[in-house]
Amino acid sequence: MNSHLQRQGSATAVQGTGYTSDQGSPRLRRVTSSRSDQNVPQFNWLPASAAQEDAGQEAAVPPKDLRALPMPMALKRAISQVQQMQVPVLSSFQSWKRSKAKSLSRARKSIGGFLHYITLWRRSLNKIGGNFGDGVQSYFLFLRFLVVLNFLSSMLITGFVLIPSIVFRSVASDSMNVTDNGAAGECRQYDHKPDPLVRYFSYFLDLLSGTGFMEYTYLFYGYYHNTMVAESDFSYNIPLAYLFTAVFYFAFCLICITARTGTAVRVAVATGGGATGSYSRIVFTGWDFGCLGDRATKLKQKNLHYQLQVDLEEERIKNEAASLTLRQKVLLYSSRIFLSLVAFGLIIAAFFGIYQATIFSQSKVKETGVLGLFYEYLPSIVITVGNFVVPVLCDQIAMLERYNPSITVIVALLRSVFLRMVSLGVLLFTLWSQITCFEGAPEECALCHYNHKSYPCWETRVGQEMYKLTLFDLLITLAMLVLVEFPRRMVVDNSSNKLVQFLGRQEFLVPVNVLGLVYGQTVVWTGALFCPLLPLLNTLKFVIVFYAKKITLFSNCRPAAKTFRSTKSKVFFLLVLLFGWSLALVALIYSIAKIHPSMSCGPFRSLSSMWTIVPDSFYSLSLTTQGFLYFIGSQGFSIPLFLFFSVVMCYFIALASVYGKSVDLLKAQLKLEARDKQFLVKQIEELSRTLGVAR
């Protein structure tokens, strides 16, 4: 029984067979040479002849990727030497193509090596994955992706908006004549000088809330001017740059997220969810070879044991249980509907609370001191409390509804997502309704098209709200770490109370933490138009969060008892992030197109809406460019383009359905072949029996 590979020193006289199958059992010897035995990784030593049979021409087969051959190094070396000796007849074009492909793969390898070097936190992530599993590692991978995304976008904003603003500060401001529309003098008043007689304590308060000395800085929209530099061979239009940078920032984030989602979705679709074949899947693919250390290994083994036992138990129960009676079904469905309504009602109550808190906070904006700080932070506090309390209640409700375990997790998560995102939307809606006098006294907005008495520079105010939300989120995370998780660990370790030991150490809940990240990122996207340095601050915030979460993971948490499927959840995280992005996009579009910019501050102070800078600059382009752009926007161009894309999409859909059908056909063929084999084996046995030949 040949089970090991034949190694014969170096090079040439090596057999092509590798791992041979058992020859003892009465199996049909496969006579055909083109089809290889299932278990033998055979190597075709004469690829050229096979290709000529197929193609009927002298085109050479490209050399096989040697790395993917499951053979020991010596064999691979021998094969590569043989391949190099076989100089195929190539046309000059093909040899040029071959050499280009080789240099391209070499370049790709060196880039891969370089990226491997500079990959952020690679060793920490490996350690986390080895000790706590794939699910927790996916959270930290997601966090790293957000850090890189924020860093690149802040570079973008710095390069196109911040640095030109600093450079052109010296240029005479307000180089454009402001069109005087009636009683606009009052609208242009903006008192941003901080009160000179002020206590030291208020500097700290100002830092936390973005008011006072921080208000009139590069941090907020109000500081930027609408300079339009136009020299002989160089022109830079700052308002246009500001707008286009904001739009491009959104587009850039969308591209990054969809690229990342694409790879994750491809894996998820190719493996088809994997609901069937769960036992063989658990046994064949369940072991994580990256587990480090005895503790993690024993935990993984306990995990698998638990999983297998539970599955076998469930199967046994399912085989024994009768189906539910009609009365039980009706009861179950009606209770589910009722509980869904209860959860929905809770969420609506939270929204109402946020709305009231925001209005109250905006009305108390003149207060100073700690009480004033409390009023400033009231919306953030209410949102955080709501985000804390309502998901816990929703979890309990979801458990009462008695869905499948995986569906329960998804339902609870969806409810939390909905709550967090739309609570942010409610905050924004209240702010905007106050600014544009959506309700209340409409005469306050008649003069300047916005409420200039309470909001002389409303964009800065919105930016301050977003800045406060971000900062508060970070402070809460750090406070939870210090005040809740460390004490819990100390209590668990030092007390022998039964209840305490039952509760045990903290478990690192991945979905809740990921939602926190998505929420923080959505706040940044919404606020980036009004607070251009917010992505940079967010990068720092996420770096701090990474190290804080890593510390709490290793010191305070125990590994999860239930596994967390990482591939489906990766797609889910990115889809939730995309949902947050689209909410921020709605806010952006509304701000750009509908609301009148402040007349007293900012780069758009002389325009009736932020978008009008684009048509204004459009007319300063040359006539040919204008004509070209008109053509692109016209129906003569867009309708054929649309038809073309529809045709391409139909082609891909047809291709996908054909592939699916051929996969089904091949599976059926495989089953038929197996049946043929069994039939022939039986025939052989009968024949050998009748002929009396002993095998």
Partner: protein
């Protein structure tokens, strides 16, 4: 042909890069870790072979329940004991980040085939499940549970109904699992 204990030649390094899925840094790190495993006399040999006991002291393999099978599968000596540096690189290449699904599933099949007969029969599956759940008595499945589990596995994955799982059936199961590639990974 082999590497001297202290330094890898540049040609050898680029050849290894061609023949494995490892990057240059990974190969150099592997060389460093491998030479630490060798005893002093072995270091001067032209093609040193690290004994199995030394390899099993690596932290990445120390607590892996499949560690002895891994060393046996990748060893090219007649007694299947000990790895040369090239065997070690083959091991790391199959377990690396960029290795293809085919090569990983091929080696996984060989690791799980405890009696080296080319198929996974019931005894192989039983030993596999015991490795997965732990060898001590309180972590094993009961005999009834084991029988039920093996019956379920064969029912799901044995397409040609010959009572064993061969390589293509194994690869078919693997291809439907999205997490296999990321869990079949050992990184130094």
């Amino acid at each position: 042909m082999g590497a001297t204990a202290s330094h890898l030649g540049k040609d050898l390094l680029s050849e290894y890069q061609e023949l494995t899925f490892l990057t240059k840094q990974e190969i150099l790190l592997a060389h460093k870790r491998f030479t630490e495993l060798l005893s002093r006399e072995d270091k001067n040999l032209p093609d040193p072979r690290a004994p199995t006991e030394a390899i099993l002291t690596l932290p990445e393999l120390k607590s892996n329940p499949f560690r002895e099978r891994i060393v046996r599968v990748f060893s090219t000596s007649e007694s299947r004991d000990g790895l040369t540096f090239e065997d070690f690189l083959d091991l790391l290449s199959a377990f690396s980040d960029s290795a293809t699904l085919e090569i990983k599933s091929h080696y996984a099949f060989r690791i799980f085939d405890f009696d080296d007969d080319g198929t996974l029969d019931e005894s192989d599956l039983e030993k596999l499940v015991n490795c997965l759940t732990g060898e001590t008595d309180d972590t094993r499945l009961t005999p009834d549970e084991m029988k039920q589990l093996i019956r379920n596995i064969l029912e799901e994955s044995d397409i040609d109904k010959d009572g064993t799982v061969n390589l293509s059936e194994f690869q078919h199961v693997i291809s439907r699992s999205p997490d296999f590639v990321s869990s079949f990974k050992i990184v130094l």
